[in-house]
Every structure is written in C-alpha cells, then in structure tokens.
C-alpha cells in the first residue's frame, strides 16, 4: 500500500488533480456556510452590475454576486454528480458482474438486457425522466444515474466475462466455493480497478451532463442553483456582461478536468504497476554496448569455412529495452555467421533472447529497443550503425521472415492474396494483375489447394496450418537469400508441423536460400537444420553441428546437454526420473556477473560466478562459452582456453 501511494504521488498529473479536487472539496464544504446567505440575498442596489473590484464577475438581475453564487454552487453540483455516478456504478456493477458467477446463460440474458438499455439514447432517457418526475435536482440525479447504469453494466460485463471464463473461477467452482464468495473474492477484486478508474472519470462527465440539463432549464430549478443554472442565467445576459457566463463555465471545466485527470493518472498508475513503467531513454542514458578487449580474436572467425564469404555476419549484437529500473538486456554480445544456403537453428527457453536477436537482425526490433552491434554485414553490405529503417531498405526482399503466430501475423482486414501481392507490387514494380498472379502462384507452391480462390479470402477463413503455409509463401515471394523463421510451428499439431517443416526444408533446398529457424524445441531443429546456436539468458552458449545433438556426450556446454536430456522422447527410460535442470532462468533486469548458467550448473566454480565466458572455438568444431566444457574425456582443469581450441 505504501509503495502504491508513493508511486502515484510521483506522477505530476496526479498531484495536480488531487490539489484541484482539494480546492473543490474545501469549497463544497465551506462555501455554503460562509457565503450561503449572501449568495441568495437580493440586493436592489446592485442589480446587473458589470465586473468590478467588488464584484469580480458582476451581479445578476437580483443584484447577487455571481462569483459568490458560483462558489456556493460547488456543493450542489458536486454532490449531484457524485451521487448520480455512484448510484449508476453500483447498479451497473451488480447487473454486469453478478451474472459471471451464474454461468453462460445468465450472462447472455443480462447482456441482451444491457444492450437494449444502452440503445436508449441518453438524451431521451433524461428528457423522459424529467417529464415523468418534473424538473428538479432529484430528477436530474435520477436521470443521470439511469443513463450511466447501462454503460457501467457493460464495462462490468466485459471485465467480468473475462473472469467468468477464467480457469481460476472454474477451479473455484470445482472446489465448491459458494457463489457469494466467488463474487466477492474472485470477480470483484479482479474487476475493481478499471471500474474505479471509470467511476472517477464518469464523475467529471456527470458534472458536464448535469450542467447541460440545468442549462436547458430542465435540471435544477430556482431557487436552487448549480453551475449549469448559473451558466444559463449568465448566457441570458451575455451581451451585457460576458463574464457572467464565463465564471460558472470555468468552474465546470475545472471540476470536469480534475476528475478526468485523476482518473487518467489512476489508469496510468495501474498500467505501470502491471507492466512496470519504463524509464524514458533520456533518463536511462545510453544503451549498454557489448564490450570486449580489442585483442581478443573475433569469435566468429572459424564459424564457417573461411573460403566462403558469409551471407550474414553478426558480431557483438546487444539489444536493450528501457525498464523500470534501468536497461533490460535480453540480448548481450551475440556473434554468429551464416553461410549462403546454410540452415541454422536457434534454440533456447522463453527469455533466452533468441527471437529478439533474430528480429533485431531482420531490423524488426520493437519500437523503443536499442540495438547495437560491433559489426553487422549482410551479403557483403555493411549495416552497422544504420537506422532500422535504412538497414531495412538495404535488406529489401533479400531477407524473408516467417512469423510465429500465424493468426495475428496476417492482417485480419486484408485478403491473403493482397497481403502477398503487395511485395512484388512495391519491390518489383509490377502491375496489379501480375502481382496477383504471383501471389496465387506462391500460394500454390506451398500446397494451398484452389489457390486462386483462397487468395481472395481473409486470414480467418484459413486453418492454422494453411495460414502458416501462407506466411511461408509470403516470405518466399520476394526470392530471399535468407529466411528468418521465428517459431514457425509452435502453434501447430505434430502432423501439421511435419508438413510445414518439410515444406520449409524443400523451399530452402530448391531456392538455395539460407535460413535461421528459431525454436524452443531442439528436436524440431535437429530435423531441419545443419547447425544450432544454443542461447541462454541473452547469450550464445554453444554453437555446434546439428549431428552432435544425437550424441549428447559430445556436446560441450552443460546447459545444452541438460536441454537435450531433459525432455522425454519415445525411448526414455520409464523407470527412472527425468533429468531436470534445477532452479530458474535468471532475471534479466538485473546485471548478471559471471556465467548466467552458473547458479543452475553442477560444474560451476568460483571462476564461473565472477567471469563471463565468451564463445570461443572448441574441439567439436563449433564454439562454446563455458569455463568447464563437459565433452573432455579427462576433467577439464585448464582454465586457459586458447590451447584447448582448434
């Protein structure tokens, strides 16, 4: 609670809003007591005076000071708005959130009631209430509450349907938790915050609505007065004394603004508490860059045969995001090379930085990411230091990307064919019809039946496997020399996965394109790739020929070994427990000293905990970043790694 308050008080907008509300509350409490009598007493000596030092906003037709009347009206205006909003919110909350614990049928029934109620025009509800109950303050409050109820109900409904369909509520039901307790312990706490935010902003809106009713003459009736009433009276005299209308108007805006600002900062506060408010890059200072002593030989030197010019060369790539306490570094000092036509896998757990690395290489890092590299070359062209947009232009269609979730990766509003055809349209400068034909051919190439017809459809009309194939077709249509595939089969069933993998493999074999395939599943990469990069906590820990995965004893890094051993396959011994890796991956928002895997590693020594190993060439033909590689026949006692390498 204390942290919550202190975080909120750091927002300047919240402070201003609270101060403004403080002024309003003071006025509401004391103004009627202090100036109440004066504000209503007619003074025949000072009728309709213009503004003066004595009457800052002038006086009205009965000689009453408009400024005092405005201040005194604060109480009635605020009380009415708050009362109406709270009534609306409470009824709305019950109508909207209660059905969540009574099952789907009750939810549907209440939803239709609420949507019919919502269809009632606000104005009409207000006017009919006035006609039915006669104008007056109570009527205005009832009318406003009636118009607010359905929107609160809708909000509560939307929020609670999420809770209603949640597995934790299902679990509670299964445990036999009573409905009342389901509502108070499960539904309400999980929807309360957005509702509170909404109530706060709605009070501001309610103030404006009430003042409009009074302005129209159907709200508060004389001798009572609120801001809307005063405004309306002032507007009648607008030619004589414009300030008479301005004064109450300013207070209406002031109060409306105070509530909406408070709501806004509450909402911002909740967002930040959930995701952590990232500091602005300016406050964070420059993004961290991978450092390495200049004399260290480039780790990428022996990646691929030296006679071949690499298609892609990445050296010292780091990616940082602004976080709540400083830079978060999901990728640190990653180096690798890809030869033309080579298929390389990247494996790692969630948070290992594998996807971020490859998206950064493709110049598709999310906005706000700081990407730095000592060296980034593609097909002989230097991309180091270019902006993502400029580098993207250089890459053009030579890099094709296949994304993970095929449903969200395709634009729901555009036909599949159009989404493919726009690539040749833009890059190949071909005509509309020709581009469309190319799109159909590309879909046909990935075994989509009746491609001409399918090209006219929207992504939601495709099955998951077909969408993934369409994405592969999309990555192919520009004839790329490098395909970057980010978890291309994660959401698919095994039988569909096998077809997609076979397709990807065939595309590479036919076009001679190189590929980088990111996956959390070692077995998938084993079938598809020639080489695999193993990533852990933002670094490449091992870079090894894929054939070695089948013989784990030849793998060097303890993490790679554990990863290949930890998953049950169809030959796992059922009588012994599975091999597991103890502990959890490290928190990347804190700086890690030494090897990130040390805490979970059985072979870790003091050296591992203090010095970060970098990937160096290893006797198995690849690279490994470990002080104690495990493939040696004799225990590795030599910390000096240079002589161990090739």
């Amino acid at each position: 609670m204390t942290t919550r308050r202190s975080a909120l008080s750091r927002q300047p907008m919240a402070i201003i809003a609270v101060c403004m509300l403080g002024v309003l509350v003071l006025l509401a409490v004391f103004a009627p007591v202090v100036w109440g009598d004066k504000a209503v007493a007619a003074d025949p000596d000072s009728i309709a005076l213009p503004l003066s030092a004595e009457h800052l906003l002038g006086t009205d037709k009965l000689g009453r000071d408009i400024l005092l009347r405005t201040l005194v009206a604060t109480r009635l205006s605020l009380v009415m708005a708050i009362a109406a909003t709270l009534i609306g919110a409470c009824i709305g909350l019950l109508l909207g959130a209660m059905p969540a614990v009574f099952g789907a049928r009750a939810q549907r029934w209440f939803a239709s009631v609420v949507s019919t109620w919502l269809a009632f025009p606000v104005l009409l509800v207000a006017m009919l209430t006035v006609v039915l109950l006669g104008p007056g303050a109570t009527t205005a409050v009832v009318a406003l509450a009636l118009t607010m109820t359905p929107s609160f109900a809708r909000l509560a409904q939307t929020l609670s349907s999420r809770v209603g369909g949640s597995e934790f509520l299902a679990a509670a039901r299964m445990l036999g938790v009573s409905r009342r307790r389901q509502f108070t312990r499960y539904v309400l706490p999980n929807i309360a915050e957005p509702v509170i935010v909404n109530v706060t902003t709605s009070i501001g809106g309610g103030l404006l609505a009430l003042s409009s009713l009074s302005f129209l003459g159907v709200g508060v009736q004389p001798p009572d007065f609120d801001w809307g009433r005063l405004l309306s009276e002032g507007f009648g005299e607008v030619y004589n004394s414009p300030v008479a209308a301005i004064g109450p108007g300013v207070t209406v805006v002031f109060a409306g603004l105070a509530f909406s600002m408070l709501g806004e900062s509450l909402a911002a506060h909740l967002r930040n508490r959930e995701h952590g408010k990232a500091l602005s890059p300016r406050r964070l200072g420059p993004a961290p860059v991978a450092e390495r002593p200049a004399e260290t030989p480039s780790a990428t030197a022996t990646d691929c045969a030296e006679t071949i010019v690499p298609l892609l060369e990445v050296d010292g790539l780091s990616v940082s995001f602004p976080g709540p306490d400083g830079w978060i570094r999901p990728v640190q000092d990653v180096s690798f090379r890809i030869a033309p036509g080579e298929i390389v896998g990247v494996v790692g757990e969630s948070g290992s930085g594998k996807s971020v690395t490859m998206m950064s290489v493709a110049q598709l890092a999310p906005a706000g990411a700081a990407v730095t590299a000592r060296r980034l070359r593609f097909d002989g062209e230097d991309l180091t230091g270019l902006t993502p947009a400029a580098a993207g232009k250089v890459l053009g269609t030579r890099v094709g990307v296949v994304f993970q979730d095929s449903l969200t990766a395709l634009n729901p509003a555009l036909r599949v064919g159009t989404q493919l055809a726009e690539i040749p349209r833009v890059h190949g400068a071909v005509g509309r019809r020709q581009a469309h034909e190319m799109a159909v051919r590309a879909l046909d190439d990935v075994q989509i039946p009746d491609a001409a017809h399918r090209a006219q459809q929207f992504p939601h009309e495709f099955s998951g496997g077909m969408r993934q194939r369409a994405l592969i077709a999309m990555s192919q249509i520009g004839s790329p020399s490098l395909i970057i595939a980010d978890e291309p089969t994660t959401a698919l069933d095994v039988t569909v996965q096998r077809r997609v993998l076979a397709l990807l493999r065939r595309e590479c074999a036919e076009s001679g394109a190189a590929a980088i395939v990111v996956s959390h599943d070692v077995a998938v990469l084993a079938e598809l790739c020639q080489r695999v990069l193993v990533m852990y906590a933002g670094r490449v820990v091992e870079d090894v020929d894929i054939a070695l995965l089948a013989t784990p004893e030849r793998l060097a890094h303890p993490y790679t070994r554990a990863l290949t051993a930890s998953l049950p396959d169809l030959d796992t011994d059922r009588t012994t427990p599975l091999v597991t890796i103890p502990g959890e991956p490290p928190d990347l928002s804190r700086p890690i000293t030494g090897c990130a895997f040390a805490a979970r590693c059985a072979f870790a020594t003091e050296l591992c905990r203090t010095e970060t190993p970098v990937p160096v060439p290893h006797r198995h033909g690849g690279r490994v970043a470990c002080w104690h590689p495990q493939d040696a026949i004799a225990p590795d006692t030599t910390p000096g790694r240079e002589e161990v390498g090739a």
Binding site: L124, G217, G256, S463
Partner: protein, 329 residues
C-alpha cells in the same frame, strides 16, 4: 471452429454478413419499439392532465375538453396506443397539444438544419481525430517523445472537459460579440455554420483522438504490423493500409457511442446559436410542456441515434470481417 467453416468461400461469408445485417436491423427495430412504448407510457403517466397543464390553469374547461377529444385522450389507453402506432406507420408523429399543428410537418421543416449541423460535425470529428490520434501514436510509440505524449494528453483532456454548449458560449462571446467576425446566431449562410460546427465537434474530436491514439499504439504493436514492416513496405503503406483499418475498428467500437452523443450535444448547441433545428423545438416543447411535440421529437431523435449506431456497426463489420465480430453480435 470446424474445418468445414474454413473451407467455405467468400460467398458464404457474404450470406453471413447479410444475416448479420438483418439481425442488427431487427434488433434496432425492437429497440425502437421499446422506446416508442416507453415514451408513450411515460408521457401518459406524467402527473396531471397534459392538456390542462399545456393550456394553462386559466383556459376554459370546455376548450380543454374539446382539445382532449380531438387528441383522442378520452379513449382507453390501449386504444390510444394502437392509434398512435398506426399513426406512426403512416408517418404521423402526432400533433402539438397547444397549437394542434402536425409534428411531422415541424420535423420536415427543422430536421435538415439539425442533420446538416450534426453531419458536418461528424465528418470533422472523424477527419481530424483519427489522423491526429494515429500521428501522435506513431510519434510516441515505444515510449519515445514523452513530452509530446504529455502535451497531447494534457491538451485533449482539457478540451474534452469543455462541454459543447460552454464552448459555444465562449465562441459567441469572442468571435461574434467581441470581434464581430461571424454571425451571432441563426442559419444564414455558409459562415453561420462555422461556429456551431466547431462548438459541436471540438470536444468529441478531443475524446476520440485520445481513444484513437491508444488504439493505434496497440495496433502498431500487433504482429501483422511487424509482418508489414518485414515486407519493407514504405512507411505510409504500413500505417495507412495495415494499421489504419484495424485501428479504426477499435476506435469506432469504443468511440461509436460518442458519435451518438453528439446528436444530444446538437440540442445544446442549437440552443446557444439559435439554430433553427429540432433541438430548439424540443427544448421549447419541454419548457412549455407540449407533450405532443416532445413525444414526436423524442422518437425522431431516438431513430437518428439508433440509425447512427447501426451504421457504425455496419461499417465496423465491413472493416473487420473476422468471424468473432459477426458471431458474437
């Protein structure tokens, strides 16, 4: 859900859309009927004799009785209700209790002024708010340019807190009374549209541009925008072709009701600018307790708002053909 739905062609999609259109229209008609009935009952239940209170306490009893007879108010309630419904089908919105003149005639005189005002303001809101929201979102994505973000949220929060009628009053004072730059009131020519349209659209535009920015930020983070970037399309294509339609759907979903609220705002703005539309007549009828006119105009307003909501939904369903929208609605 089943494989068979994905095999269906776009023709099947078309049928589904037609079904959606019919369902929506049907629902609108039901809502209209509920409103007609409620309005009828409320006005009949309103305290006292409407004719007496409309004609005033001094009116002669025989006059009141004659007017009641003419209006059919002496019939049983159920007969009155069906007479009223039958009248509506013939386009008869009833008559003024006070003058006995046809409400339909009144509407045909005054509706164009209101529709012009609201329609222009409508367009202004969409044409200003959506591009502004998208533009600011593009500038401020990824936590960049905090300053722009702060200024934008501050300014729009301020503008959104100004009610239409108050802005109208200020505009009248500044431009019409002080500067004599524009006509003060009435519908007298192109120049006379400017101030009312501004008064009606500015606050809504501020609110919708805020919604639009938040939705655009969300959209820019969506995977398909990244897919579009991966195709190295020009920036304008990424933003306008890939982001805009999706962001518009989300914006209209949330902001659609605000457009309906603008109709209500027009009542107030008409009052301020003495605009010869329905709103003036409506407020006048309420203050003079002419329930005949109130009832007729209330229905016209309800119909306008329901039609606007229906159109928003239809536009949404055309922009976003995903099954989810068509299915859940």
């Amino acid at each position: 859900m089943t494989p068979s739905t994905s095999v269906s062609g776009s023709r099947r999609g078309g049928y589904r859309w037609l079904g959606f259109l019919l369902r929506r229209t049907g629902r609108m008609l039901v809502a209209m009927w509920v409103i007609i009935t409620v309005a009828f009952l409320v006005l009949r239940m309103a305290g006292g004799d409407p004719v007496r209170s409309a004609l005033g306490a001094t009116a002669d009893e025989s006059v009141v009785q004659a007017r009641r007879e003419m209006l059919g108010l002496n019939d049983p309630l159920i007969v009155q209700y069906f007479d009223y419904l039958a009248g509506l089908f013939r386009g008869d919105l009833g008559v003024s209790i006070i003058t006995g003149r046809s409400v339909t005639e009144l509407v045909s005189h005054r509706l164009p002024a209101t529709l012009e005002l609201a329609g222009i303001a409508f367009l202004v809101v969409l044409l200003v708010a959506v591009p502004v929201g998208l533009g600011i979102a593009i500038i401020t994505q990824g936590n960049g340019r905090r300053g722009v973000e702060t200024v934008f949220t501050g300014v729009t929060a301020f503008i959104a807190a100004i009610p239409e009628y108050l802005l109208g009053v200020v505009l009248v004072i500044v431009f019409a009374i002080t500067l004599h730059a524009f006509p003060v009131a009435g519908r007298t020519g192109p120049a006379s549209y400017l101030l009312p349209v501004i008064a009606l659209s500015v606050s809504a535009a501020a609110s919708i541009s805020r919604i639009a920015r938040i939705e655009a930020l969300q959209t820019l983070k969506d995977d398909y925008v990244r897919t579009a970037r991966s195709k190295r399309l020009p920036a304008w294509m990424v933003y306008f072709r890939h982001a805009l339609p999706n962001m518009l759907t989300a914006t209209l979903t949330i902001g659609g009701t605000l457009l309906g609220a603008m109709i209500a705002g027009s009542v107030l703005v008409e009052q301020v600018f003495n605009w010869p539309g329905l709103g003036m007549a409506f407020v006048g009828a309420i203050t003079t307790k002419d329930y005949g006119i109130v009832q007729g105009l209330a229905l016209v307003y309800a119909a306008i708002i329901l039609v606007v909501n229906l159109l928003v939904d239809l536009v949404l369903s055309l922009l976003d053909r995903r099954t989810s929208l068509l299915e859940t609605s």
